[in-house]
Amino acid sequence: MNNIVHYALTYVRKYDTGMPLRFVAVPFPFTGQPKEVDVGYVTGKDMLTDQPMMHAVVDALTKPLTPEEKITGAPAEESVEPRLLPPDTEDNLRALFDERGWADYNWINLPTEKKVMAMLRGTSHKPDEVIKTINITGGARPLTVEKVAISAVMAGASPEHFPVILALATQAPFGNSTSSMANMVVINGPIAKKLKFNSGTNAMGPYNRSNAVVGRAFTILSKTAGDLRNGINAWESLGSNFQYNNILYAENEDALPEGWNPLHVQMGYKPSDSVVTVGTGWTSISSVGGSQELYPVHHLMRDYMSALTASGSSATIVMDPTVAGLLQTAHGFKTKEQLSEWFSQNAQKTAGNYWGNGVIQSVVVPLALQGLEPYASWRKLPNDAMIKPFTNPRAIHIVVTGGKIQTTWFVTDFGMRRGVKIDDWA
């Protein structure tokens, strides 16, 4: 059974719980079905044993333990990954990297020791320093500086990119879910110019080496350090093309309107700090064509925001400098914070739209059931009642990038984490 139940029975058991839990399985999808369908599963069959469901449940609760189920303590076996792979031809090694799912199936630089050592000269940190232990989906894998250097080489990065990639590694692995989760990486500070990250025309497109290789390095190290493998422990139903590069771009700090601070300064860093910020989300809506006086740009953004889940009140609006300029001069938003506050006060959706989302159901309903406001009150509203779901303006981020060619922007549901100082990884 090559599905998520198999994942629970194998990967999770081996690396996370250590318990051979007894499972029964119903057909998917389970939620969003009429009540009679879910009730019918109880009188149906267990997909794992093919026996009647309740017989399988009773067996799980009453059948004596097997010797395997009585084992306790340290596992007898051990997972081993040698530092160097056995010598082989380049073709065979490339096939091995593909087979193990270590890259993105595009052309990689094979990480010879010589190239990895050269990459390591891009930082003062020791190769065996553990950046973090990654236990997402289990496994407790220690991510060292050397392992990050291997991924950086594979992605085609240069040693001068390495401090940025190490800062990114503190945020690895990238977000992944069963829906199409994606990630956004924003570069701020002097490093953007020093390494020529693109914050101008085509900032978010495939037109710049630093944007390309650093974004790709985050993918590769997320896959290797996260041990993310399709159908093993990576379970996005549709996946996301954004995961190839993680929407990496630099903020166009030179083009910010007066009074609008760069993202990292909003987070409390100095303008002279170089910072990388990672966001995670699912939804991105692009504007088309130029802004119109008939329908002010922030009104259109607000209306697009009604399509977002508003989970955690998160939104990130990425806009061209011309849009930021319009918002400041024509509409009076003197700071990014004023604009975020306006979105928080004005973006609305119906209660039905809000609650009719699986993430909100999974994350917010438990809060509502505890009586936490405003969720408890919102849950009592009729479906057509309007609510303002972006309750926290500080979770609505504004980033300015682009080449002043068109008054375009993206509205996204990406939630930005606190940025990481790149200078600490030089």
């Binding site: 879910d38 990954e81 031809t89 438990p366």
Partner: protein, 139 residues
């Protein structure tokens, strides 16, 4: 019509159709490791993978002889919302009552959804001396 004029009307540059000898050449080889693609030379590269630490094994709790007169907790993790699991657990409860004497069931929705362990639920399980626990439903 003159071929050049016809292509111009179609918006195609004659130069693009004509092409250049360079287009017929193989593309430059991308940067490689320390050997060449197709080469039989064997090279050594570093391993990007990190060994997974195996979780310490934990034995399952002893099973019950039967479910008569037992207290069974059903924990609703609210995967994609609590409704579906509540329907499922409701039907399970009905079935258990029809087939076992004195069986009791308690359905609890966890306060932390599927992402955490709700201490109040664990406390209730302990204080009620529950005989068995069913956890779900995940999807």
């Amino acid at each position: 019509m003159n071929r050049r004029k016809m292509l111009a009307l179609l918006g195609i540059s004659p130069a693009l159709v004509t092409g250049t000898p360079a287009l017929g050449k193989p593309a430059a080889r991308p940067p490689a490791g320390d050997s060449y693609e197709g080469s039989e030379e064997r090279i050594t590269v570093m391993n990007p993978a990190i060994a997974n630490k195996l979780a310490p094994r934990v034995a399952l709790a002893p099973r019950l002889k039967d479910l008569n007169n037992k207290l069974i907790y059903m924990i609703n993790l609210s995967w994609e919302g609590p409704d579906a699991a509540n329907y499922f657990y409701g039907a399970m409860t009905d079935w258990l009552h029809q087939h076992y004497t004195g069986v009791r069931t308690v359905v609890k929705v966890t306060a932390e959804g599927m992402f955490g362990t709700d201490p109040s639920v664990l406390k209730a399980i302990r204080e009620d001396h529950a005989d068995a626990v069913v956890v779900g439903v995940a999807g």
